[in-house]
Symmetry: D2
Subunit: 364 residues, 4 copies
């Protein structure tokens, strides 16, 4: 089968030919229809320090996907062929203290699909049955393709208790953009967003941010103070991994506030924890993955009820063969979510078809 | 000054003439513009068992109101004459363990305005400065008049963590109706409501309930099971005080779910706590008043941002002199919120004027 | 093999002869050494209404036990023969929303060992591998035998956040007695206990209750008020299932307090929920089983560190053949925990041997 | 009256003569008996960067104290002359959002006794009535003198939910030492402590640490891994402010664990927040002051019930005139808590008298 691969220890990716995976008795084989490109995939493409330390080529990339069940192992009953499914990409060990107490999203023996094991940028992918998530009728197939990153955003927002609160999203890449709309849907009273790229600032506005800040030209702190009676925001959702943004978030969160760190900085950060954290009485939470499976249920409840619609954040849908274009778009820093059309005839779900290539995020 | 009073230990109310209140150094005198009628006021009017045990006539009724500061005591600086204010009606002792640890809404020495001390159905009312709540510009005066009962609904919804969850509101009087809209604004994925009165069921639909149930003619349990994959709802907001509704709520809440009890039953209730509570692993929370003052801040954030609009629940605005009509409307079981127009020239705020008398709740 | 059975739909139990269980690939076969008698077993013995509705004879009883792994199914690797184990007796479905979100203790399809499926009052018992709990070295075998009911007590106490708080335990059967010591170990500042039986009151004192109340002869409410500055207790752990005790707990818990209901009343209870729950702003939590598996880890941490020692609550250890004596002791209302010695040569663990028959609870 | 003062903008302190304070109507005048020396006082003594930026001489130092009420303002009724009291040293504004929602410990307009306003190292001190905390009979006067720092430790431990968990205390100065014993009293299953000073390590052992680590000579990470089944500790209480200790805490806390930051680093810290916080799914909480007044009630419940005894941490009691010795002891890094005996005849409470000067912490 065809697969987008890291073939050796060097920058770049290539379309390869690999055998169709064999499944174990507790696994499910899925024919991939759409797959999303994650920042992680871009790091692997670039072959940066993190990738060099973690990735063992040859490897099929990809962990965001939707597809149809082709075959189920003997112990994975309940998945009929043809069922539309996606999957949680973190494969926990299932037997450690963390996995047994609701924390398998940070299991120390987690293997990640497309990172530690062959992934979903391929015609077929195999996944453990426990990780398979069937798609309810009524969910557009494109939404199903990106439940993994959407779940990151839901995890970040819903563990911050935003109803009636003011929220700042620092960094408006795809997950920051999702977070804006989710925070509004979950009752955030006022949503601020900061972002250096003008196209993404425009998308942030369309996704419902009440005030969008350009941190390079505007007085960040003054704006927040003015619009929060001088108190600062209740909640910061840090989605950029940028050291400056991390610092700004700590500066403008109110005393006793909450900061969710999701964006991954490339290097250690210098923090004045006395002034920024201790004297302010802050709570900081490190967001990894999605809660298995609270986040999934909550997310699907938001989606199926129509309370939140991620369509506006999906800006590109690119044929599988033209994956280079897709990776270029994902890496450029202007886009929303970029989706690969793995099977040529995958059409679209109820959400409607997107032409391959660029599309402006639509207003909600 | 004129005041609506319980003059003696018998049913009924009368317009009386009483001296304008003198304020203590830590109090504020307010000229009342609008006042809301609460179920409590209806009980006092009827002179039922509860009222006979609690009320000591003569008493000026009323605890839901908005008005202008006329005068402030020496220790109550910061309130300029003319400032539009409402007030928290529960006056805690301020020095007990409960008051000192964030639970003054259930202080054992609470005195309630218009119940234990002369209230706001009068041209002037005096309130302790700590209980005075200034109204932010942009809040319609009618909304300000009903922040006390609106606060009950916010307290009930926001302590139940409804984002992404299914919610059932049993009983669609004013506070039930508020709760429907607030639950939606706070991210509830699906809102069910049950109510025996057809006009209130219609209002429930307009306020955003996804499914409105007539418990007398529909199969309550079957509907909920069918629409929640058999699990039942995550959260029940019990707003009726009706024994049957209390039982239905316990029956259709899912295992490990949460039940908020707000409606006050007149008599003890027979409960199968083994089947209804223990084996289900439920959490039940008794909702009294409003958290002082978390609920007030959260509520005002929802209102000022426009995330929630209570206008549709306000169905009547009646001149002060015609209070009998207002009480009849409040007692009849068909209305939303009923407001008394205490000062003839109170006009209206940004929300627009309502004619006295009946008004259908408007669609949001 | 020998087993204590309900042979037909009538009162009583009998020693029967049944085939040794065959295990499925995901199960483990355990040779039982000790087994505890639960109130549930007593109900089945008596053949009361609950038992008649739930139990389908013939059935081997018993869900509290410790034993040695004899054989593991192909998919249940990791359990070496000879390993000392006990098990969680609630067998969840594993795939429902509740099981997938940390609430499998209230899974709607739970089957309970010894209730819905053959249990542990037998020479051998089979259990799903996911439910098997290996015993750490250093844990006395008698403690291992009663981790199921001990887990009930840990669940009740540790979800009530008792550190620095006042706690009332109503009902001093085995689980009430465990709760007294656990509450102290978890930092409860003052532990009250109420119990009608004088022997159990004496045990409550030995387990560390600061004040033990005879509800039939002492002024319950006055005592609690006097010793809590008039506020009442922060937390009630209701362990009796007795209607009077349930009412007393609600009466003496402080406003904003927490009530954990564990004891199962035989009949519906008449509750004045207005005065007892709503106006007090209480939280009530229904305690079922144990959190899977948070409670197990927390419990074992308390036990292995010696912070809590349940030995004093184990009052009887009776040879398997003399099970009638054991059931009589468990039903009489004077005892602590009653253990059956299933395999004659089971000796004892580090905790020391107990003679069969009566033993006064030892002072801690 | 005599007072220990910072007379001008330079290192050192001096005994000064200042007028006895006049009280406002809402204040209380207290004759000081004992006063504790805090790290903050040591910083002011040294006149370091922080002190130079914050302190405006002349200033009377001191915020930890116990004394007798001498006089109460007209609005501060309820405090009889002679009543033994201490006080919360953080004086919030009382009217901001934070103060009105249970977060006055981080009010932005807080003034601190002995830092922003004249303090308690004097014969008399004045405090707002709302901050005065009466001492219950049975509490030794020395314990009463140090409720402010003891409250820091209770705040840090009790917001971390330690029952049944493993805890690491990094830094065994007075507050670290308090935390060890409090964590045990609150049910921590295993308490680790790290400290560079051998005398303090010995005190840590006496206070109940199960394993005390010398971070300069022992393999910190290996020890924790070995004794926590490889998982790391559930909770870290960082009490040192040392960059290395902060890093070690983040390294050995388990995934999904909780870190309480209390110790104040002098400089910004370089943190790898990707590896240390985000990928681990940690929660970090900045501990400032004490919750007003939850922490005070919880603390007093622990003390009055005898569940926790801080006596062993009090190593020095020095006459007021010999304050130089006391400051030297507090600054040397070997001591527990150092107390000044302000009024010569203050004798001692039920806890017994301590000779001035060095005293080994007693075993509990």
């Amino acid at each position: 089968m065809h697969a987008i691969m890291k073939k050796g220890p060097e920058p770049g990716l290539a379309m390869g030919e690999v055998p169709r995976p064999e499944i174990a008795p507790n696994e499910v084989l899925v024919r991939v229809r759409l797959a999303g490109i994650c920042g992680t995939d871009v790091h692997i493409h670039k072959w940066d320090d993190w990738a060099q330390g973690r990735i063992h080529p040859p490897l099929v990339l990809g962990h965001e996907f939707v597809g149809e069940v082709v075959e189920s192992g003997r112990l994975a009953s309940g998945f009929k062929p043809g069922t539309l499914v996606t999957a949680e990409g973190h494969i926990g060990c299932g037997i450690c203290t963390l996995c047994r107490t609701g924390h398998s999203h940070v299991c120390r023996d987690t293997r990640i699909l497309g990172v530690d094991t062959d992934g979903a940028f391929a015609e077929f992918v195999r996944v453990p049955a426990t990780n398979v998530w069937p798609i309810e009728p009524g969910i557009p197939i494109e939404w199903a393709a990106i439940m993994d990153p959407l779940g990151n955003a839901f995890h970040a927002v819903l563990t911050a208790d935003v109803a009636g609160k003011s929220v700042l999203v620092t960094g408006c890449g795809p997950i920051g953009l999702f977070s804006i709309g989710i925070a509004r849907a979950a009752g955030a009273a006022r949503v601020f967003a900061s972002e250096v790229d003008p196209r993404r600032r425009e998308m942030a506005r369309r996704e419902g941010a009440d005030r969008v800040i350009d941190p390079h030209t505007e007085d960040f702190e003054q704006i927040i103070r003015d619009e929060t009676r001088g108190d600062g925001v209740h909640v910061v959702l840090e989605m950029s991994g940028n050291a400056e943004a991390i610092g700004q978030g700590l500066q403008v969160v109110r005393n006793s506030g909450r900061v969710q760190w999701f964006g991954i900085p490339g290097d250690p950060i210098l923090l004045d924890i006395a002034q920024s954290v201790i004297f302010k009485g802050l709570t900081i939470y490190g967001v990894t993955g999605r809660l298995m499976y609270e986040t999934w249920y909550e997310m699907c409840n938001f989606l199926i009820s129509g309370r939140y619609d991620p369509s506006g954040v999906i800006t590109h849908r690119v044929p599988f063969a033209r994956f280079d274009e897709a990776f270029a778009a994902a890496a450029a820093g202007h886009s929303g979510k970029v989706i690969l059309d793995v099977s040529g005839n995958s059409g679209s779900g109820p959400g409607g078809s997107l032409p391959g290539g660029d599309r402006p995020g639509k207003s909600r």
